[in-house]
Each structure stands twice: as structure tokens, then as C-alpha cells.
């Protein structure tokens, strides 16, 4: 397949100036998004996934933040270098974004109609009347009952789920090529989460747009993503197709994440968790940033000669890890065809080549899944009735 990627992020570095020195929440991040693909960016809070997504649209508050280096190519334009005027045409029209908190992502002083129409009229040269028509149509598309009446309402008159639908309608009203969804379901309760994701997937199929899905919810990833990039402490540590990531996770962090997801039927007592906490971006550890929490490195150190290991003392415990993990930062290498990882302990890592993670993959939609989605859609409609 020789399709051109829609968005290419190349060696992106973002820095924030703080009173206690510069911190760098995003380092050497590379990512490709192809048209019609859903790419999930996964990681714990503070790993840099939101900053990555914000820097695509140049929404990082500046000062204190700035893009140090790297390219973000949309078609053939480099977004960080684009003049502000050109950038405004990209925002909303080519790349749209929806935010985590639907309670605050709508302006409380305007009706939702006013807010959608403003964006529509900015990017599509239509009359006010036509713009209201488009707004009404996009509200209908996201499954809001009685859209004409809803256009006249203020955000505080709606529930969280409805607001997130409105936010999606607003983002999609100008038919963007790429939608950045920054934890679109985190602030919603579980039943509404399922509806919103189903809606996003449906709209994605209908319009053929690409979605960059930022999330820490692996369930969401498993159900929606085509390609998964796992971020840990400012770096991408593993990239693979969604099937690969869930079947054969290679990076110890990804393995840890998957082990800490509760499974039905697996009654094993306590749920496993990754020990320790995400390091503070101002004091990242040397070498591989995951080594203080890495179980794989500890296991390897137990059987390795003493001169290849290093002792680490923390308040809680004392343990040994491999020396290489504390000294050499692993690059992202293609350890298996179509599977990139950044860990010294992955099999044949040393022999693999450093390369850019480019994966033009779509998940297979089985007949079963489609049926399940249809069933889901029925549930959604029933729930919608309740919500209204």
C-alpha cells in the first residue's frame, strides 16, 4: 500500500520553561496517521500524550511552552512553521479537536447554535441561514433529538453526554480530515462513554476522517484503535497494530499496563499494578525512564553477573536492575516487522534497526463486530430517549 500519510509527526520535542528550569514533556516523538485510520496514543497521566496532541494544533500555552524541534507535516505543510493566519485555516477546517471535559469546552454565554454557526461560517462561505441548516444537520448526525430546538439552548441546559455530542457536532461541522480526541470519554459515565465512542466510530466510517485518540483507557483502545502508540515519560515506547499490542505486547510497560486491566473470569485475587509512580518530568531517571519500575529488568538482573547490574535504593525497597537500563536510553526500533519497541530486553532488540514507526493498518471489522455494533446502536437509541 502506498497511501500517503495524512499527518506525520517527526522527532517532536516540546519544552516548558518553569521557575525551576526547563522541563521536556515530549521527546523525539514520531507518529504517522493515515487517512481513515484511528490511532490511539496511550499512556498514564503526565506521559506527554496531551501535550503531543496540543502541539499539533499549536495550542500549547506559550509562554511557557514551546516546540523545540521536530516537524508536524500535514500533507506537505509543516504546522509548527506555518504563519498564524495559515494555521487558523488548518484549525477547525482540516484538523478539529474535542476536549476531555464537556462541561467546560462550550462557552457558557452563547447558545450552542451560535457556537456551531460561528465556526461553520468561518470555514465555509455560506449565509447565516445555511450555516444554521448545517449546524442543525450536524446535531442530528450526532444523535441529538429535536436539533432545531437544541440550537437555541445554552450549554448549562444540557447533560454531560449531550454536551459532548454537541462538541463532536461542532468539531465535525466543517468536515475535518483529522479529529484529535483528547480523552473524549474520561469525564462521562460509563453508559454514555459507550455511546460517544460508538458515535465517533460511526462518524469515522461515514466520513472517512482519521482520528487521533488520546486515552489511558485500554478498553477504549481495544475496541476502537487501528494502530496503538504507547507513551511513557515523554517518549513513545511501543508502536504496533492493535491486535499485536494486545496479543504480543513487547515492552515491559505495555505488558504491565495490560496485566493491570481487570478481566472477566480471571479470579486471581488482587489485580496487578505497576509499582511506583510516573516520574516527575523535571527529574526523569537516566537511561531508560522506566527502569526504576521495570520488573523485567529486575528479573534479568537477578540472573546477570554483578558487574552488569546496579543497585537502586528507594524509600521502600532496595533492588538491582541491569546497568544498561540505567545508562543507555533505548531508541524505538523495529523489533519485529510492523512492531516497534524501545527496550533493551526485547528479544533481538540489539540486532534491530532504528526506524520510523509507519503503519498503514486498519483493524478487521468482522461480521460479528458489525452485528455487535448494531446491537450497541439499538441500546444507544434507547438510552438517548432516556437522556432527552
Amino acid at each position: 500500500m502506498t497511501q500517503k500519510p495524512l499527518l506525520q509527526i517527526r522527532d517532536l520535542n516540546v519544552a516548558f520553561d518553569t521557575p525551576r528550569g526547563q522541563i521536556r514533556p515530549v521527546r523525539d516523538v514520531s507518529l504517522d496517521i493515515f487517512p481513515g485510520q484511528i490511532v490511539a496514543l496511550v499512556g498514564e497521566s503526565g506521559c506527554g500524550k496531551s501535550v503531543t496532541s496540543l502541539s499539533i494544533l499549536r495550542l500549547i500555552p506559550s509562554p511557557p511552552g514551546k516546540v523545540l524541534s521536530g516537524k508536524i507535516m500535514l500533507d506537505s505543510r509543516d504546522l509548527p512553521a506555518l504563519p498564524e493566519k495559515e494555521m487558523r485555516k488548518v484549525r477547525g477546517k482540516e484538523i478539529a479537536m474535542i476536549f476531555q471535559e464537556p462541561m467546560t469546552s462550550l462557552n457558557p454565554v452563547y447558545t450552542i447554535g451560535d457556537q456551531i454557526v460561528e465556526a461553520v461560517m468561518l470555514h465555509q462561505h455560506v449565509s447565516t441561514k445555511q450555516a444554521y441548516g448545517i449546524a442543525e444537520e450536524s446535531l442530528r448526525e450526532v444523535g441529538i433529538a429535536d436539533p432545531r430546538r437544541r440550537l437555541q439552548e445554552y450549554p448549562h441546559q444540557m447533560s454531560g453526554g449531550m454536551r459532548q455530542r454537541v462538541v463532536i457536532a461542532m468539531a465535525l461541522s466543517c468536515k475535518p480530515k483529522l479529529l484529535i480526541a483528547d480523552e473524549p470519554t474520561t469525564a462521562l459515565d460509563v453508559t454514555i462513554q459507550a455511546q460517544i465512542l460508538e458515535l465517533l466510530r460511526k462518524l469515522q466510517r461515514e466520513t472517512g476522517m482519521a482520528i487521533l485518540l488520546i486515552t489511558h483507557d485500554l478498553g477504549v483502545v481495544a475496541e476502537n484503535a487501528d494502530v496503538v502508540a504507547v507513551m511513557y515519560a515523554s517518549r513513545v515506547v511501543e508502536v504496533a497494530t492493535v491486535e499485536e499490542i494486545f496479543d504480543h505486547p513487547l515492552h515491559p510497560y505495555t505488558q504491565g499496563l495490560l496485566r493491570s486491566v481487570p478481566r472477566l473470569g480471571a479470579a486471581e485475587g488482587r489485580l496487578e499494578s505497576i509499582s511506583g509512580a510516573v516520574p516527575n518530568p523535571a527529574r526523569f531517571p537516566s537511561g531508560c525512564k522506566f527502569h526504576p519500575r521495570c520488573s523485567l529488568s529486575r528479573q534479568a538482573a537477578a540472573s546477570a553477573p554483578a558487574e552488569q547490574t546496579v543497585e537502586i535504593k528507594t524509600v521502600e525497597e532496595t533492588f538491582r536492575v541491569l546497568k544498561i537500563c540505567t545508562t543507555v536510553e533505548p531508541d524505538l526500533r523495529e523489533v519485529q516487522p510492523g512492531h516497534w519497541g524501545a527496550c533493551h530486553l526485547i528479544e533481538n532488540y540489539e540486532g534491530s534497526k532504528v526506524s520510523l514507526p509507519v503503519l498503514n493498518h486498519r483493524r478487521e471489522v468482522t461480521a460479528n463486530a458489525v452485528a455487535a455494533e448494531r446491537e450497541g446502536a439499538v441500546v444507544v437509541e434507547v438510552l438517548q430517549g432516556k437522556e432527552g
Binding site: 496540543l54 494544533l57 495550542l59 500555552p61 509562554p63 511557557p64 487558523r88 485555516k89 488548518v90 484549525r91 477547525g92 477546517k93 478539529a96 479537536m97 474535542i98 476536549f99 476531555q100 471535559e101 467546560t104 469546552s105 462550550l106 462557552n107 457558557p108 454565554v109 452563547y110 447558545t111 460561528e118 465556526a119 468561518l122 470555514h123 445554552y154 448549562h156 441546559q157 462538541v167 461542532m170 468539531a171 430517549g385 432527552g388
Partner: protein, 405 residues
């Protein structure tokens, strides 16, 4: 069909609870503020002052509203109207009509009002040429001579600059205490106090609104830019605010009034140009708080230009504290003008102002004239108090912790 009707019924049952919520946020704030009797009294008094300011020549005028002299009908009061008088009356009339046109959105009504005002003022300035005042006693003399067959006078039949030269009485010098013909008495030049007070409403209204308008305008621009861009802009802006905040307004006013010709517009400009620092701080703080919110990010992410982000999305959300500070600012401006006039500076000598009447309450011979201190003092007090009441009510209504919603 049946499910639809069930749905509709379900919605209807929810509806009554929502009626209260069917307002924009700002409208609900105004509604809450208006619910207090103190605010209503304040607004009532301000409305009275505004009414007096608009219709002053019809309320207090030496020239009769309608008169028949030697068999000829005329309306000397209307003939002597100035361009400003005309504009105010037309503005009031159009305001009444526009408020009645409930179908038009508020924004369009505001544009219409601005348009009418913008058209009327130059037109009247060009077209209305009142005759030079020959003598305020003209119609009193005519009546005395018995040539007036019928006359409808203004409720207060004296103009503010009418020195009652025809009623000069060596044995009973001005100022005269309140009497049946001069309800609030007269001041030292013989001007009727009530008439002066009615005409002084204009200065009280305009000095408050124009100087506060200037202050709020500068405050929004400077504070908005500081809050939105933060960083170095904020740093420089705050130093500018500190510099302007350190200027003692009253001394600046005194110095300018002593150095230049007395001019009310200069007073307004100085009060406005030195008074914006508080507004700028408020706007800055609000913008700093709001710029990190998702809806601002969403507005930028939608590709809206900076102008729209700043003034359409941030400003209305930051308006609340500005409204409060503006209503206190109006009160402060009125007080400043009164202080200046009391000191005998600021306004031209013949301008009708409450402060000037206060100034006259201490006679040249050292006597104290109570009515010259009490009535204008009461007017100043009530006006300032009213604006403070309104400001206070707005502040409470804006405080979400006190708001039941």
C-alpha cells in the same frame, strides 16, 4: 407514534423545572440583582435622574412651554432648545420604541439605537440654531404688562442661568431661602436651586458614564491583552498599571483645572484616563483564569481569529467583575466632579452642577445656607448610594456561592 407521545409527555413534565433556567447566564445574573428591593430603589433613583437629565428644558425653563402673546401662539421653550436637548429627546423616544419591539434581538436593537443617535446628533448640530438668549425675564415682563392671554409654564418656571434680574431687591439680597415661588430656594446669583439641580442631572449622568466608559474601555483592552498573552506583555502591562495607579487623580485634576480653561470634557478625560487601572486588573485576572479553560482552547482549535477569541469568547465571560467595578466607578466619578466643583474648580462657572451649589452654601460673608448644602448634597448622596447599591447587588448575584442555581 405512541412512543413519541410518551416522550413528549415525559418532556413536558420536566419542562416546568427548566423554566427558570431558560435564560442566558448574564440575563439570570441581572434577574437576580433586580430581585432585591435595594437595587430597585437605586435603579428608580437613577431613572429619575436620567429622566430629569433628558427632559430638563421641559421641567425647568424660564420660557413658557406654550404661550399666546398678543393673540399669537408660540412655544418659546421649544424655540430655545439646543441641539443636545433635541438629541436627548429623540434618543429617549427611540429607546422607548425599540424596547417595545420585542421581536428584534437585543443586538440589532442596540445597533439601531446607536445608528439613530449617530444620525441625530450631527443633524441637530447642523440644523438646530436656537436664538441667543435675550433675557429670561422676557415673558415675566410680558405677563406683567398684560399682553399674555394664555401661558403654560414649565413646572419650575426658571432656567438655571436666570439670575432673576427683574426681581432684584436691595433689602432682601440673594440667596433666598426656600419659599413658595422657589421651592429649594435660590443661590447667590439668584438662580433657582431646583432648576439648577434638574439641569445638573446631565452633568452628573454624563460625567459618571463617559469617564467610566473611557476607563472600562482602556481597562478591557490593556487588561485583556495582559491576561491573554501573559508573559512579557503582562509584565510590562502591570508596570503601566502601577504607574497610572500611582497618579493622584484629584491633584492632577486640580493642576489641569488651574492651568487650562475649565472644561467638563477635560475632567471626564482625566477621571477616565487615570481610573482604568482597577478595571484592567479585574479583566487581567479574569482572562488569566479563562485562558486555560477548554472552551477557549476549543475556540482557538476551531480556527477562530484572535479578535473573536478575545472579544466574543473571553470578554463576555469576564464581564461580570467589570460591571461591578464600573458601577462603583460611576459613583466615584460623580463624587470627584462634586469635589472639584465644591472647590470652585473643574466646570465652567455658569455650568449647572450639584457641587457648585454645595460650594455656594458658604456665603461670601461667612453665612451658612442650609438649603444650598442639603438639597444638592442629598442628590449627590442618593446618586452615589444608588450606584453602590446596584454594584453591590451585581456582585452578590455574580457570586455563585450565593446563587441558588
Amino acid at each position: 407514534m405512541s412512543s413519541a407521545s410518551i416522550n413528549a409527555a415525559g418532556m413536558n413534565s420536566v419542562e416546568p423545572a427548566r423554566v427558570e433556567k431558560r435564560r442566558s447566564w448574564l440575563a439570570s445574573v441581572v434577574h437576580h440583582a433586580l430581585g432585591r428591593w435595594g437595587t430597585r430603589l437605586g435603579i428608580g433613583w437613577i431613572a429619575l435622574v436620567a429622566f430629569c437629565a433628558t427632559f430638563a428644558p421641559f421641567l425647568a425653563n424660564s420660557f413658557p412651554l406654550l404661550v399666546r402673546v398678543d393673540g399669537r401662539w408660540s412655544s418659546p421653550a421649544v424655540i430655545h432648545l439646543t441641539a443636545v436637548d433635541f438629541t436627548l429627546v429623540i434618543a429617549a423616544a427611540s429607546l422607548l420604541v425599540l424596547i417595545r419591539l420585542k421581536k428584534l434581538p437585543w443586538a440589532i436593537r442596540a445597533w439601531w439605537f446607536a445608528g439613530i443617535l449617530g444620525m441625530t446628533l450631527p443633524l441637530t448640530l447642523f440644523a438646530v440654531k436656537p436664538p441667543l438668549v435675550s433675557g429670561y425675564e422676557e415673558y415675566r415682563d410680558l405677563k406683567h404688562e398684560g399682553r399674555v392671554q394664555w401661558m403654560l409654564s414649565a413646572p419650575v418656571p426658571y432656567s438655571p442661568n436666570d439670575h432673576l434680574t427683574d426681581q432684584f431687591d436691595f433689602t432682601h439680597p440673594q440667596p433666598w431661602a426656600p419659599s413658595r415661588s422657589h421651592w429649594f430656594g435660590t443661590e447667590q446669583n439668584g438662580e433657582d436651586v431646583l432648576s439648577v439641580m434638574i439641569h445638573a442631572c446631565r452633568i452628573a449622568m454624563s460625567i459618571g458614564f463617559i469617564s467610566t466608559g473611557i476607563a472600562v474601555f482602556i481597562g478591557i483592552i490593556v487588561g485583556g491583552l495582559m491576561g491573554y498573552f501573559a508573559g512579557i506583555v503582562d509584565l510590562l502591562g502591570m508596570r503601566l498599571v502601577e504607574v497610572f495607579g500611582a497618579i493622584p487623580t484629584i491633584y492632577l485634576l486640580l493642576a489641569f483645572c488651574a492651568a487650562f480653561e475649565r472644561n467638563i470634557y477635560m475632567v471626564m478625560a482625566i477621571i477616565g484616563l487615570t481610573g482604568w487601572t482597577g478595571d484592567a486588573r479585574f479583566v487581567r485576572a479574569e482572562f488569566l483564569r479563562l485562558r486555560g479553560q477548554d472552551f477557549v482552547h476549543a475556540a482557538i482549535a476551531a480556527g477562530l481569529p484572535l479578535r473573536s477569541v478575545l472579544f466574543r469568547h473571553l470578554l463576555p465571560n469576564a464581564l461580570a467583575p467589570i460591571l461591578v467595578s464600573a458601577s462603583f466607578g460611576v459613583a466615584a466619578a460623580i463624587l470627584s466632579e462634586s469635589v472639584l466643583s465644591f472647590l470652585g474648580l473643574g466646570l465652567p462657572v455658569d455650568a449647572a452642577s450639584w457641587g457648585r451649589l454645595l460650594n455656594q452654601s458658604v456665603g461670601q460673608g461667612g453665612g451658612f445656607h442650609l438649603w444650598l448644602a442639603m438639597y444638592p448634597g442629598l442628590a449627590i448622596f442618593l446618586t452615589v448610594f444608588s450606584y453602590n447599591l446596584i454594584g453591590e447587588a451585581l456582585r452578590d448575584a455574580l457570586d455563585p456561592r450565593l446563587n441558588p442555581q
